[in-house]
């Protein structure tokens, strides 16, 4: 029993350390293909991260200790969340809770924004301010959407409300939750219609503006944490989708969620290739759809239960 749980932990850790980079590679790769370009090889992000880790850091002399500590905290927090969400199709190694996970992600947001403000650069502060504004619109949507499942399961414990098999909420609710999560999560991750990761004008961006001052190992940690966040959240969406299907054997569930995570990456790449970036002032309107979908999902659960 003890051995099995350690094995599970190792399984999750290995995936948390490799899959995010693979996902980043898949996104880059498929985005290039959608644009009819050759694009970098699939495993390029691994080399990029390795290169960054081998480089030294240059930091601004204005910074305090927060600046160097923040990426470390955010990666630690992301690894903890990755161990609490059953994003790989099999049950997670640590007992998780909906609100704990949401607030752990808030820790990551908090330190990231503080680090961005630390150098006294207008870019970083703009990024932080935008990040705060986007999460104000997006985070309630995520909470509400997942609360629909929690209310259905009568518990906020991850092992119960994300349980697959009979007794999970009906298809309609699950699809609404997935829609809400997808909208809110892509906004939180600063991906396309909200932020364009391929521009190179930090003045208009969120994620890149936040990390403008980071370099070398510091930047590597920061990017790694962001990649883990994306993978885990996509895994969460995949898990909600899997709940709509009849239960599978662990291996099938694992392969399916792996496939779904990568498919989400391809879908994101497709979205980023065909959509234009929204005007900043339109973002609340976009995210209001996520919140409405979450509320409707809850309404159905409430009326049925």
């Amino acid at each position: 029993m003890r051995f099995a749980s350690i094995l599970l932990l190792a399984f999750y850790l290995i995936h948390a350390l490799t899959l995010p980079l693979l996902l980043a590679g898949v996104i880059q790769f498929s985005k290039s293909r959608f644009l009819n370009r050759q694009g970098p090889p699939l495993l390029q992000p691994f080399w990029d991260i390795a290169k960054l880790f081998s480089k030294g850091e240059i930091i601004s002399e204005t910074t305090t200790g927060v600046f160097r500590l923040a990426p470390i905290i955010s990666i630690a927090v992301m690894l903890c969340t990755a161990l609490m969400i059953p994003w790989l199709g099999v049950s997670a190694p640590l007992p998780g809770d909906l609100f704990l996970i949401i607030y752990l992600m808030a820790v990551e947001k908090f330190v990231t924004q503080l680090a961005a403000l630390d150098a006294g650069s207008s870019f970083g502060a703009l990024g932080a301010s935008r990040k705060a504004a986007v999460s104000i619109a997006a985070e309630p949507a995520v909470v509400i959407a997942l609360a629909a499942l929690a209310a259905h399961a009568h518990s906020s414990s991850v092992s119960l409300f994300l349980a697959t098999g009979p007794g999970s909420a009906n298809l309609f609710v699950l699809l609404l939750v997935v829609a809400a999560l997808w909208l809110a999560v892509t906004a939180e991750l600063a991906r396309m219609p909200v932020d364009d990761p391929t521009t190179h004008l930090e003045l208009t961006m969120i994620h890149e503006a936040l990390i403008l001052e980071n370099s070398g190992r510091n930047l590597a940690l920061r990017e790694f944490a962001a990649a883990i966040e994306m993978t885990v959240l996509f895994g969460l969406i995949a898990r909600v989708l899997l709940m709509a299907l009849p239960p599978f054997s662990p291996v099938t569930a694992y392969l399916l969620s792996l496939g779904l995570i990568l498919a989400a990456g391809v879908a994101l790449a497709l979205m980023e290739s065909i959509l234009v970036k929204l005007r900043w002032r339109k973002i609340p309107s976009l995210l209001s759809f996520a919140l409405t979908a979450g509320i409707i999902a809850n309404l159905i659960v409430v009326l049925k239960g």
Binding site: F172, S285, S288, T292, I296, L299, L303
Partner: protein
């Protein structure tokens, strides 16, 4: 009713709800078309289940005429008028979305018409309500037409949800009226634009003596 009716009905209402949050007229028309075609197909399915050929005929006509012909025509109107966006009148679209969703939720939860209307027909009331919201909340004349069409969809939806409540012949007649009305309204929109140089209906207040 069989189990497939509920989710499909809910989908059509959700499409209407989605429309309240949009500002782009073409996407709104697209959603309207989707909603109407879904309703038409639903009518055909219900008609087959209950052995009512008239309902099947009405469903086919609605799906083809109201679901395809009308949106295509209105799309042309919008393109020729050259105004694709319609910002909200009183509330900003996201707030309108929340307000409409809240009102729908209250309708479902409180069910104030429980004497008159069966619970299964509640979504139809919701759709009527959404149509009304769409009509009041937007500036452009085209939006009013869309809102009116959604409202009419609500009435048709009621016919499907409560079979035998209204002879489908009436529905077919209404359909003809709607078609003629839409054409007329579309033409009138051009006239309004030509006379006032815009189609903002809030400006009609200036017509007072």
């Amino acid at each position: 009713m069989s189990f497939e009716f509920g989710p499909v009905a809910a989908c059509t209402v959700l499409l209407g709800l989605w429309m309240t949050g949009l500002t782009q007229l073409p996407s709104k028309l697209m959603l309207y078309a989707l909603q109407t075609v879904t309703l038409g197909l639903l009518a055909i399915w219900v008609g087959k289940q209950h052995g009512e050929p008239a309902l099947v005929a009405a469903g086919t006509a609605v799906a083809l005429l109201k679901g395809v012909a009308v949106p295509v025509y209105l799309n042309r109107v919008v393109r020729r008028l050259g105004c694709r966006r319609d910002e909200g009148l009183l509330l900003a679209p996201p707030l309108l979305l929340f307000a409409t969703a809240g009102a729908l939720g209250a309708l479902m939860l409180l069910h104030p018409f429980s004497r008159q209307i069966a619970p299964s027909a509640l979504p139809t009331i919701g759709m009527l309500f959404i149509g009304m919201v769409l009509m009041v909340s937007r500036r452009l004349a085209v939006s009013q037409i869309i809102g009116f069409l959604v409202l009419e969809n609500g009435i048709f939806f009621y016919t499907i949800a409560q079979p035998h409540s209204m002879p489908p012949v009436v529905e077919l007649g209404v359909l003809m009226d709607i078609l003629a009305g839409t054409m007329l309204a579309g033409l009138l929109t051009f006239r309004i634009r030509d006379s006032f140089e815009h189609i903002d209906v809030t400006e009609l207040k200036q017509l007072r003596g």
